[in-house]
Structure formats: C-alpha cells, structure tokens
Symmetry: C2
Subunit: 144 residues, 2 copies
C-alpha cells in the first residue's frame, strides 16, 4: 500500500517523502474529508517534527496534481479528500459527518458544449458538488 502511494507520487513528479505518504495513508483511511490542521494534529505525533505549513503545502500540491480533491465548504476553510476513482466524477459531501460519496455522471459535458457554442467561451474548469446529509446523518437529524 505504501508502494502504491509512492508510485502515485512518482507519477505526479513528486518525491515520495515519509510525510507525504503519511498524509495519503491517513486520508485514504478516512471515510471523509479533513482539514490541514486536523491532519497535522494527528500526524505530528508520528514525526519528530512536522510543521503545519508543510501539511498545507503538501495538500495543495497533491490537490494540484490531482491526487487529492479539494472540498468546497460553506465555512470557506480548506478540506481535502482522497478519492481513488480515476474517472471524471463529482461528489456528494455530508456537511455533518464529512463522508464523501461519488456522483458517477454529470451532465456537464453537455453544458460545456452549450457554453462554447452559444457564446464562444471556453470552459476551463467546473465545480459540481452536492451538499447535504448522508443516509446515516439524515436519519439522526443531527448537524455535528
């Protein structure tokens, strides 16, 4: 499993450092998204030294190379999620327990075409995210 992550990092042109591997392992084990500070608090015990800026930097780099996914949260803080699904897809994120579920298909290809054709514009990226309560949390009716 460590090999797998090391290969992913190598493929992304990034050095396979112990801290990066630890971040990936922790995030993969999580069922949901996590904040830089939360990851730092969990991981700093496993290293002699681990700076919060290092966690921020790595999460951002991993997100840019597509290894991690950024979550857009109403509170405007940064959250990241590990998703191994290589297909283009989007996410349903629970605002209560932070679970993330895949949304397999989106009609965005069609929308992109429409924008191009109608206005001559060029779509560089898109954001599609459903926010809500997962099955478990919806039952409990809680907002943690």
């Amino acid at each position: 499993m460590e090999q797998r992550h090391a290969a992913v990092l190598k493929a992304a042109g990034m050095k396979a450092t112990p801290k990066r591997l630890a971040i990936l392992e922790l995030l993969e084990a999580e069922s949901g998204y996590a904040s830089p500070e939360e990851l730092w608090k969990t991981l700093k015990g496993r290293f002699d030294r681990l700076g919060l800026p290092t966690v921020y930097r790595n999460l951002e780099e991993l997100s840019e190379s597509g290894v991690l996914t950024k979550v857009i949260h109403p509170n405007r803080q940064l959250y990241y999620y590990f998703c191994s699904n290589p297909e283009h897809h989007h996410h349903f994120v629970c605002l209560s327990c932070r679970k993330v579920e895949d949304i397999p298909s989106c009609g965005i290809d069609a929308l992109e075409r429409e924008v191009s054709i109608r206005n001559g514009g060029k779509v560089l990226s898109h954001i599609l995210q459903l926010n809500g309560l997962c099955g478990g949390c919806a039952k409990k009716g809680e907002m943690a």
Copy 2:
C-alpha cells in the same frame, strides 16, 4: 429602478437603506462580479461615511436572502453578482473579465434524486459553476 430594489429588499424582510440600494444599483450596472472592497472603494465617495464591514455585512445578507449570488473563486476571496433571473439556474463565470452568463438548465434534479434513492441521503444545496473564458476573452487569449 430604485423602487424595484426597494421592493426586493422589502420582500426579503430587509430595510431599504440608501447603502443597500447603492450596492444593488452598482452591482446591477456591472456586467460581472465584484469584491466587497471594490464595491466599497467605488461607493464610499458617494456617502459621508461608509464602512467596509457594512459592505461585507450587506453583501452576505443579500446573498443569504437570494438577492445576490456568491461566486466561488479559485483565489478564495468573496465575490458577488447581481442576477435578476428568478428561475433556478447556474452560472458560467469568466476568470479574466468577470463576466457572468446564465446556464439555463442543469441536470441536478436528477442527481439529487439519485443520491436520495441510492443512499438515503438528503441534498441540502448544490454548487454548479463553470469557470473559463468568455467569448471575448477567449479570443484575446488574455488572463487579466
């Protein structure tokens, strides 16, 4: 036109203050989205006193009552846009000139149903935004 905005504010349960009306007029005249500080710099000359926190507060309140639309920007700063289209729809935002164009339809209703049925979750909100370059900017090939 001032009457129209006053009515909108009243309908939203908000007092029609001169500053709120000025914010709405300015944003309606804009073809694109604007930041709180930009609006403040433009408007503070028109009032004896106008605090930046007031602009922030009003933009947020107007956004919460649905009068304005928040733009999700990669630089993580706040931007707001005035859109008078009352139908449910989404936006294509130009990262260069900040123009905003309506996206009339989205397949999100279907996705919401799918999430509910498949996992028993409850979709509380969704984000769909296309980022890119509008027709004009795509031609120029510029990123301001």
